[in-house]
Amino acid sequence: MNFLDYIIPIFYALGMVSVFMTLCAYSVLAERKVCSLIQRRVGPNRAKIPIVGHIPILGKILTRLGIFHPAADGLKFLFKEEITPQHVRIGYYYLAPIVALAPALTTMVVLPFGRYIDVNGMVQPIALANIDVGILFILAVSSLGVYGIVLAGWASNSKYPFLGAIRSTAQMISYELAMGLSILPVFLWAASPGSDYGLSLFGVVQAQQGLWLIIWQPISALIFLVAIFAETNRLPFDMAESETDLVGGFHTEYGAFKFGMFFVAEYAHIIMGSALFVLLFLGGWHFLPGVADPWPDGLFGILCSTSWFLLKIFFMIFFFIWMRWSMPRFRYDHVMHLGWKILLPLAVANFVFYIFLIAFIDNLTY
């Protein structure tokens, strides 16, 4: 193995991180803009950077769209005074934002976001690491994100963050179960007998060349979507934050850059959740239900598949935001009720139903 083989993956990884962080920053902007549209306001439209912002017409349009706001937001977080309240447990207090952000960024390693045709004419996924147990890795690592919230709540040594952390933990446990059960049928469906894909996300996408799985398994998709909303702590399930009753929830005692890290982590989770939903149920980079893969070979095909995948992710991010500004927050006990008494039995029933259905179909075909 020569020197270059070590260097190139580092550049790939850096590229992916920068794209991902940009997406995070601009989904914050999208949140503010979509919110303002829904509430019939104008939204962020003032921030301007010197040279680009002063190009005659383009600069004005970009400014009105708020394109420069993420930079301003980021700089604000960076240059604000770092305040550490006296009553916190210092080590854990500083650890929490890192623990919140790291898993969210780690999961993107196994995310296949496009496809290319290799020299043998085989379709291969574009991912930093195409591992066979992609979904297990994502589920395992992304759930670690809740430790950031728990640590933040506990280390803050104050009652509101503590309550937020407790709620978040309870919510995580209840929805993780339903989520896991809801995607089992998906992998049963994708990994037909004789296929060698196993639990890889690429296999699921390849199994959706016909109709997408949201059409074959609408109940799984619904449960997964609800669980994703709960896992990412988004409205209507943002129990951890619920600013009306818990001030700011787990990040009440955090300010400046540490708060910024929590903020980015939340949006990273949203993007990961959207990507996962697109991969599992919306056919990944496949064009339309029934029209599998019209992209040409070569570089252009790679670009097409990747951008189509990104487009679907954008739609899902928009859906997350759209949902947030349409729904009121659930009451805490309602969240628990929904998770344990409705989604979990439904997921089990759905799982059993698809076991029988898939066994039946397999018996027909073999």
């Binding site: 979509v34 549209l37 019939r40 104008v42 949902m323 349409s326 729904m327």
Partner: protein, 182 residues
């Protein structure tokens, strides 16, 4: 005692229990809103329409001939509830011909805007229609001294308002007529 009417609360139907139709209609409502015109008034560039009888910052006005209307009668000073107005009266200094029949003018006219409560009593009491609360509503300054508006500033804020009477012109011509008669 009024009779209480107990409304029967219907049990939720199955579709309502799933939340899904309600969520869908909620999403539709917000989606439709996204394409409606924004109701934001982008403030510093676009100013709100101020109604005619708005009570903004008190100002001194001039008549269309450019004369200061105030005759420093001090009624506003006396009526002002928070004692924000201070007037120093003086005789007309320069004996211009068109001001000859006005008896007095203010040498200094200060309104302490930190005391003013925008009640509009000064406007109501003014016999000369010289002080008006106009449409200016946002004022700020860096020091307390800056917030005491002097005569020049008040006149600048006030500008010129139309005058229906030209009281002093009438008085002048009346006096001239009587002089002629005698």
């Amino acid at each position: 005692m009024a009779k209480t009417k107990v409304l029967e609360r219907k049990p939720l139907t199955f579709s309502e229990k799933t939340y899904i139709p309600q969520i869908a209609s909620g999403l539709a409502a917000t989606f439709v809103n996204m394409f409606k015109k924004s109701v934001t008034l982008e403030y510093p560039e676009v100013r709100p329409v101020i109604p005619e009888n708005y009570r903004g910052v008190p100002t001194l006005v001039k008549d269309p001939k450019g004369r200061v209307k105030c005759v420093s009668c001090q009624l506003c000073e006396f009526v002002c509830p928070p004692k924000a107005i201070r007037i120093k009266p003086s005789e007309i200094v320069d004996e211009e011909s068109d001001r000859a029949h006005i008896e007095k003018e203010p040498a200094a006219f200060d309104i302490n805007m930190l005391r003013c409560i925008y009640c509009g009593l000064c406007q109501e009491v003014c016999p000369e229609e010289a002080i008006f609360l106009q449409d200016s509503f946002s004022l700020s300054g860096y020091t307390r001294e800056e917030m005491v508006f002097g005569k020049e500033k008040l006149l600048k804020l006030g500008g010129t308002l139309p005058d229906n009477h030209f009281k002093w012109d009438k008085k002048k011509s009346a006096e001239e007529n009587t002089e002629k008669d005698h």
